[in-house]
C-alpha cells in the first residue's frame, strides 16, 4: 500500500516539476499579495508588525486555494482519475498521495519563503520562527480541507469562485489560530504553545477525515 502512495506521489511531483511555472506562480502570487499590503496601508513599522501575521495567513489561504483547482482537474480531463477510482487500491490513499504532492509543491514553498516575508513586516526572529512552525502545521490542513472542495467542484463551470465560497469558511479556524500564534509570540513565547497544539490537533483531525471525505466527494463527482 505504501508503494502505491509513493508511486502516485512521485508521479504528481514529476508531472509538476516538468511544468515549473505552475508551482512558481502560486509562490509569486503569495509574495506579491504580501508585498501589496504595506503599499496600501502605509509602511510604518508598528502597523506592519501588527498586520503581518494576519496578512501572511490570508495570503497563504488565497495562494493555496488558487492552486487547489489544479489538484484533480488535469487527471479528471484525461481520464486518469477514473482509472484511479477503479483500481483495487483504497481511493483515500491515492487522494492522500495527491494532496501530499500538492502540499509539497504549494504549501512547503510558502513555509520556506516565510522568513523573507517576515522581514518585510519587521517581525522579530521569534515571531518568524513561530510563523514558520505555524505555517508548517497549518498549510497541510489547508490542502487537506481544500481537496474536499476541489473534489466537489470538479468539472463545474465557475468552479474556482464556487470553491472559494465553499472552502474559505472552513479555513477560518486555521486562520484564527495560525495568526494568533504569531501575535502571541510577541507577548511571550510560552503563550504560543496552546495555539500550536490546536493547529497540530487540526492537522491530525484533517489528516484522518479529509482523505475519506475527498474520496467520497470524488466518487460523487465522477459517477
Amino acid at each position: 500500500m505504501l508503494r502505491v502512495f509513493w508511486c502516485v506521489l512521485l508521479r504528481d511531483l514529476t508531472l509538476a516539476l516538468r511544468r515549473r511555472t505552475d508551482v512558481l506562480t502560486t509562490l509569486f502570487f503569495f509574495i506579491i499579495v504580501v508585498s501589496l499590503f504595506p503599499l496600501g496601508v502605509g509602511t510604518e513599522r508598528q502597523i506592519l508588525q501588527i498586520l503581518g501575521p494576519g496578512v501572511v495567513w490570508v495570503a497563504a489561504l488565497l495562494a493555496s486555494m488558487l492552486a487547489l483547482e489544479r489538484l484533480f482537474a488535469a487527471d479528471y480531463e484525461d481520464g486518469t482519475l477514473e482509472q484511479m477510482v477503479l483500481t483495487a487500491q483504497p481511493l483515500s490513499l491515492l487522494v492522500l498521495a495527491k494532496i501530499t504532492a500538492h502540499w509539497l509543491l504549494t504549501g512547503l514553498p510558502l513555509v520556506l519563503i516565510a522568513p523573507l516575508v517576515g522581514m518585510q513586516y519587521h517581525l522579530s526572529d521569534d515571531a518568524i520562527l513561530i510563523m514558520m512552525v505555524a505555517l508548517l502545521l497549518g498549510t497541510p490542513v489547508l490542502s487537506l480541507i481544500g481537496a474536499i472542495g476541489a473534489a466537489l467542484t470538479l468539472g463545474l463551470r465557475g468552479g474556482g469562485i464556487l470553491l472559494s465560497l465553499l472552502i474559505l469558511p472552513l479555513y477560518i479556524p486555521v486562520l484564527v489560530y495560525g495568526a494568533g500564534a504569531v501575535t502571541a509570540s510577541g507577548i511571550d513565547m510560552a503563550d504560543t504553545r496552546p495555539y500550536l497544539a490546536l493547529l497540530g490537533a487540526f492537522l491530525v483531525a484533517a489528516l484522518t477525515f479529509a482523505p475519506l471525505a475527498s474520496s467520497a466527494a470524488l466518487k460523487i463527482s465522477i459517477e
Binding site: L152, L156, P169, G180
Partner: protein, 252 residues
C-alpha cells in the same frame, strides 16, 4: 407495519400529506407568534438586568434568540436529512435537506440583523468580532455554500449528493466553532455576549421566548413543506401522477 416505514419516502405519497399538513403548521405558527409576541410586549418587565439595565429595546430578544436557535437547529436538521439521503439513497431526503436550507439561511440572517440592532443601543456598535457573532456569520456562509454548490451542478443526483457531503463536512466544523468561544487565552478574545443560562431568566421572558421559538419552528415546517412541494413537482414533472394532478387542476 414494517413495510410502511418507507411509505412516505415516496414523493408521490408525501406530496398530498405535505399539502394537508401545511395549513396546520401555519395555524400553529400564527397562534404561537401571537401569544409569544403579546406576552413579550405586555406581560414582561420593562427592564432587563440589574445595575446597568437594558430598557425597552431588550425586547428584541424575543426575535433574536429564537432566530439564532433555529438557525443552528435547522443546520442540524439539514445535515440529518442529507445524511439519511446518502445512507438510504432516498430522493425525498435530499429534497427535504434542500428545502430546509433557505429557511435556515434566512433565520441566520435574521439573527445577525436583529443582533446588529440590539448591539447598537447596548454595546454601542452594530458589529463586533465577538466569537458568537463570528460563528453565526460562518454558519451563514455555510448555508450559502450549500445552496450555491447545489445550484451550480446541473445533474440533480450529483448536486444532491455533493451538497449533502458538503453539509456533513460543515457539521464537523460546528463543535469546533462553538469550542472557539473558549479560546486558549480568555484575555485575548473578550466576548460581548454574556454566558447564557436558561434557569436565570425571568419566567415571563422565558415563556414568550419559548413561544416565539416554537412559532418559528412551526414556520420552518410550513415553509419547508411548501418549498418541498414545489421541489417535488419540479423534479417529478415527467411522472404520470404529476401529469394527472395537473389535469385535475392542481389541488391534491
Amino acid at each position: 407495519m414494517a413495510s410502511n416505514w418507507f411509505r412516505f419516502a415516496a414523493p408521490a405519497s408525501f406530496y398530498p400529506l405535505a399539502g394537508r399538513l401545511i395549513p396546520v403548521f401555519w395555524i400553529l405558527t400564527g397562534v404561537c407568534l401571537l401569544v409569544g409576541l403579546y406576552w413579550g410586549f405586555f406581560q414582561t418587565p420593562d427592564q432587563l438586568g440589574g445595575s446597568n439595565a437594558q430598557k425597552e429595546y431588550y425586547r428584541i430578544i424575543f426575535i433574536h434568540v429564537p432566530a439564532a436557535w433555529m438557525s443552528m437547529w435547522l443546520y442540524v436538521v439539514m445535515v440529518c436529512w442529507a445524511a439519511i439521503g446518502l445512507v438510504f439513497n432516498t430522493r425525498l431526503s435530499f429534497m427535504m435537506a434542500n428545502a430546509v436550507a433557505p429557511t435556515g439561511a434566512i433565520f441566520t440572517f435574521l439573527a445577525l440583523w436583529t443582533g446588529a440592532f440590539w448591539g447598537r443601543p447596548s454595546w454601542g456598535t452594530y458589529w463586533d468580532w465577538d466569537p458568537r457573532l463570528t460563528t453565526e456569520l460562518i454558519l451563514f456562509f455555510m448555508y450559502i455554500g450549500y445552496i450555491a454548490l447545489h445550484s451550480a451542478i446541473d445533474d440533480t443526483r450529483r448536486a444532491d449528493r455533493a451538497a449533502a457531503l458538503l453539509a456533513i463536512v460543515g457539521l464537523v466544523m460546528v463543535p469546533l466553532i462553538f469550542w472557539s468561544v473558549n479560546c486558549p487565552d480568555p484575555n485575548q478574545c473578550a466576548a460581548l455576549h454574556q454566558r447564557s443560562n436558561l434557569t436565570q431568566i425571568e419566567g415571563n421572558i422565558l415563556f414568550s421566548m419559548l413561544a416565539v421559538t416554537f412559532g418559528f419552528w412551526m414556520y420552518s415546517f410550513a415553509t419547508t413543506l411548501m418549498r418541498l412541494r414545489s421541489i417535488i413537482l419540479t423534479r417529478e414533472a415527467d411522472n404520470t401522477w404529476v401529469q394527472e394532478l395537473l389535469v385535475k387542476g392542481g389541488r391534491a
